[in-house]
Structures are given as structure tokens and as C-alpha cells.
Amino acid sequence: MYFYALIGVGLFSVGLYALINYAHLLRKILALNVMGSGIFLILIALAKRTGETQPDVVPHAMVITGIVVAVSATALALTLMLKLAAETGRAELSEKDRD
């Protein structure tokens, strides 16, 4: 059970690393999604509580909500990225872009 949770933590960390390390916005957005998945995994993994046969339903509800939020966030992010790319020609953030 903790195995999955640890994998979740791992995913979160990898995502964080990618978010900071890569300049391309698509990679950053993907990294955020990976982080989100990591957290969802943790939530699911920890839903099975000791001493109970039935897994807790609340985390599942949370994950579903979380996924909905993540999808909309990703959609917004992608839109923004496309607009930015159209505006600057590059899908990257750079200090030099300011006038």
C-alpha cells in the first residue's frame, strides 16, 4: 500500500523537477499533470486504511474532483500557451520578452 504512495511521491518529485528544469511550456504543463497524478496516486493508495476491509470512499471522490480540476487547468494552460506562442513565436517564458 505504501508502495503506491511512494510511487506517487516519486511522480510528484519528478514532476517538480521537470517543472523547474525545462523551459518549454508544454513540458512544464505536462510536468504539472504528472505532479497531479502523483498526488492522486497517493490519495488512492492511502484510501485503504488499516483495520478496514472497505476502502475509504472520500479520497476517491477527491480524486475525481481533482481530475476535473486538473483537466480544466490543463485546458486553460494549453490555450494560454498557444496564444503566447502565436504572440511571441516561442512557447517559452523569458525575461527578455518584456518591452
Binding site: L32, G36, I39, V69, A73, A77, R98
Partner: protein, 488 residues
Amino acid sequence: MEVVFKEFPWVAVLILLPLLGGIVCFLFSGIAKFTGLMTVFFTALSVLGLGWQIFDNGVYRHAVGGWGAPLGIDLYADGLSLLMLAATAFVALGVSVYSAGYFERGYSTRFWPIWLFLLGALNALFLTADIFNLYVTLELMGLAAVALAGLAGGKNALTGAMRYLLATLLGSLVYLLGVALLYHGFGTVDITLLAQRAEASPVIWAAFGLIAAGLMLKTALFPLHFWLPPAHGSAPPPVSALLSALVVKASFYILLRLWLEIFGPLVSNTDVSTLFGLLGAAAILWGSVQALRQTRLKLMIAYSTVAQIGYLFLAFPLATAAGVAAWSAAMYLAFSHALAKAAMFLAAGNMLRFGGHDRISDLDRVVQRLPLAAAAFALAGMSIMGLPPSGGFIGKWLMLEVAIKQGRWEIVIVMILGGLLAAAYIFKVLGHTFTQAPSPHESKAVPASMEWSALLLAIAAVLLGFLAIPVLSLLNIGNPFGISEVTP
């Protein structure tokens, strides 16, 4: 009639009305402006209703659909929530009137739905009683805010919005991880239950660390403020006003709520509050100095927000010995900052619209030609500087009093320095508004609604200086800051 008013589920109205209004605006873009204004107006009235309700009946708790924790959604309103709701309502009214004049047709249809959506999310956030719903509202608020920030298009705005989006998503996710840990540890997301169940343990520490980090990022506490100036500085002025006045305060509200209810008693270790205090002090000094160095008006105001956030965090080290007074001071500062900063951004927007630029040194005789905007800027500046009589002064006075009573001279000095620096950057602007710029420019007319909304918000920020007693007594409904001491 009175009974109806008192029993009426104002909280539900507060959340649903803006969402509904947002949908209407989205569907019928022709009446977006009218619907938006009406919605905001009635939402503000509902805050009044809720205020009356909890003033008479005390704390309000409502389980949506009768489900109750842990599965259902609990709504909770005490003085603290009410104060934040009131701030939201005031700023919302001002900004909405302003936006009605500011946004032209094309932008208007996009602005109103998102803005009402944001309003709904904010109201929901302030009324939520469980930490997971806090996450959801936080995320909704963040997304709406990003959408607004990018509304204007253009390179700067989009870059700022993108940066903002990444920061806010990262913050939310880190917060969510903390929530997951807390749920795992104590099997509930309801704040009250958590407060009962939680005990000092590594889980608490880990959760606290994550939650605090996420929220600090979203609140833009130094040194995690990097995303704020570009986002606030390049968004359209009414949006900047909303972001600076409300959105950053919302995440601070969550941090404060959780600290008060859950973490404060458990990790009440002076190191943590000292760290918050240190970061707050650094934010004040750094933000102010940066603001002073800016040549663009809106960026200057954005950095000023960074500095003003710092004051809120100064309350942490002070609250260990004098909870109520310190928190009252912080919330008073937050409230008046919301009004003043909104007014300031709106006034800056007027100057921007008027002159077509916001270079501080080229502000060309604004005082003569745009007196209301200059007055709004000056009055808002008064509150930001903490000059009497203004809301900012009362907040600073309360905080200084606590600090001096505790002998925390370093905090006193930081606060005074912050005030002086604020005066320096605000009067730098005002000085230039009197003089003729080296390159005079053509001016563009500014609608009266935009001028007056900014001015009225600024006046409200100043008048807040005279309303300390009612506001503080409202704030203490439900005793949000614990009962460790009597009201000062």
C-alpha cells in the same frame, strides 16, 4: 419579514448567484454588462444580509443538502469570513462599476463571465469549512484569475499570466499533497474535526510544511513573489485590482484559518512564526525598495502589494503572546489594503487610459487634468502608507502597539521603515503628477464611472479609519482568533 431575513440561506446565495450570473453572462453576451453589475450588486447585498444574520445569531454553519462532514459540503461563516466577504463585496462593486466603463464590447463578453466565476469562487472559499473544498475553490479562483490576467492579450500579459498559472498550479498541487497527508493522518477534511483530532506528529509537520509552502507561493510571500509583479503589472487595471486586492488575500486567509484552527496550537513553535515574521519583514523591505525603483506605475503598485503582504505575516510572531490583537491588526490591514490597493490600481488605470502610458516620470500634470484619479491615488496612498486617519493607520497602530508591548523593536522598526518607503514611492508618483512632463502628450477622455469608482474605493479605505470599533466587533464574532485573551 425579519425572520425570513434571518433564516435566509445567504451563504448559498453568495456562492450560487455569481456562478449563475456568470453562466447568464456567458450565454447572453448582449446583456453581460447589465447582468454582471446586477449580480455583483445583489451579491454585495447578500453579504449585508449574512452580516446581519451572524451579527444576531452568531456563527453560521450550513450543511449543503444535509449531508454534513465528511462527505458533504459544509459552509461556515464567522467574523473572519464575514470580513473577507465584505472586502470582496466592496472591491467587487468598485471594480465592476469601473470595468463597465473600462472594457469595450469585445473584451466585455469575456470579462464578465470569468469575473463572476472568480467572485463565486472567492465567496465559496471564504465560506468553506473543509480543507479539500478549500483546494477546489482555491484552484477555481486561481484559474479564473489567470484567465483574467491573460485577458488583455499581448506579450507581456500572456507571459505574466502563464507565469502566474504555473505558480498557482504548483501552489495548489503542493497544498493538495498536504491535504492528502492530513486526510490520511486524521481521516477527515472538516476543519473543526481536524482541530479536535489532530495531534503533534510528523504527519502534521509534513502537511503543514506542504500547505504552508503552497499557500505562501500563492500569497506571493517573499521570496516566492516572483510571479506577482509581472502578472499584476501587465493585466488590465481592473484585473490587477482584483488580483492584488482579493486573490492574494484569499490564500492568506486559508493559511491563517488553518494556522488558527489546526496548526497553530500543534506547531506552536516560535521558530515557525519567527520564520514567517522574517519573511514578512524581508517582503516589506524588499518589496518597498523594488517599488521605489520601478519606473512603471503599475509595476510599482504590484511591488507595493508584495510589501504589504509582508505586514500580514508580521502578525505571526506577535500572535503567540497577543493573538486577538495581532490578528485583528493583520486583518484590518488586509481589509484596508484590499480597498486601497484596488483604488490605486484603478486610479493607475485611469492615468494609463488618459495618457496612454504609465511611465511615472512622464505623468503629465495629471492633478490638473485628471483630478479625481490623482485624488484617488493620493487617498489610497494614505492608507497604504498608514497615515491617519485611514484603515491602514488603524491596522498599523494596533500592530505597533502589540509589538511595542512585547518589546519587539525589530518589528517596530521594520514597520516604520516600510511606511517611510511606501511614502517615498507614493509621493514620487504624486510629485510627478503635479509637474509638466518633458514630453507632453495628448490625452484621452476617461469615463466618470471609472474615475468615481476609484475615488470611492479610496475614500472607503480612508473612512475605514473611523470604523474600527464596529469592524473589529464584527471580526470577533465566533471568536475566530481563539479565546486566549480579551479584546484590547
